[in-house]
Symmetry: C2
Amino acid sequence: MNDYEKTINDLLLDIYDKILVTEEKALSRGIFKDISVAEMHTLEGIGLYGNRTMSETATTLGITTGTLTVAIERLVRKGYVDRRRDTEDRRVVRIELTKKGKLAYRMHNKFHNLLVDRLVSPLDEPQRDVLMQTLACIAEFITDQYQRYIAENPEEEHKHA
Amino acid sequence: MNDYEKTINDLLLDIYDKILVTEEKALSRGIFKDISVAEMHTLEGIGLYGNRTMSETATTLGITTGTLTVAIERLVRKGYVDRRRDTEDRRVVRIELTKKGKLAYRMHNKFHNLLVDRLVSPLDEPQRDVLMQTLACIAEFITDQYQRYIAENPEEEHKHA
DNA sequence: CTCCTTGTTTTGACATTCAAAATATTGATA
DNA sequence: TATCAATATTTTGAATGTCAAAACAAGGAG
């Protein structure tokens, strides 16, 4: 491990260490004090263009449907999510963000947007291309690793969005 | 947020998410199957040069002492940590990694190093520069937010290592 | 109509976390 | 020295997040 790699490693550790706490605190002070990072993640999984089923959403989030049932239970109670049975196939449950849920989603996204903006704004056009290539390359590698694990456990097809 | 920024955002989220899952799976299939990511994090908090107290370690990890007590309980039972009362001040409890704990710590470090190595090895020089810049920018952004939170809560000085 | 399949919920278990109460020890002081 | 406040840790009770497996409900093929 050379100096460059060591620095990258340290940066990654630092980011991972602080990001969760920061997000959690940002949430707990905002307008939507009553949802956790995990719950926000669930809102993201449902997405703005709702009408997705429980299983679809669970797959997106990489959790079991049982876990999602419990999470949705709470989010419905808190008024962030709407849930109703499909009229065509009454086994299916459709979930959707309420107005409040969508608002929370957008507020949280602002945090991400701010970060990305900060990231790309100092870069000129060629550098932006390089950034895109770099991230694409890393994403490809890590997806590869990820798929390898999935391959060993074919039952868990966590198709992360 | 334009298309370019949206793609960057999606790539970042995807990478973030998959690195976490990869780490978790790597642990659960490695030699030390019986410890979770959180437990490994606790081992990291204790560090190789042991003899730290419960409170010191809890502060490093950003958790309460009560939470740490429970975690250490399990890690002692599993043979990763040694715990004994300080002979000078018998209120104090000193914890330390066992041989097995140190081995696990080092193995996990290797995993990180290998991951970073594989991540950057396909990148050319300009890509590496952009990567470094980008991570530094993210770390700065997060640290910034993080500091803002610390400033509002001076009592909780999470001095992350 | 029966039975298999599919989508969801329920249940039981465990990990992680906090806040607050309980416990043990120290050190200062009346 | 006996007492008491402060300090370090553990214990307790509660919430959240998670899974696997069982239970339930509905659809669809014969």
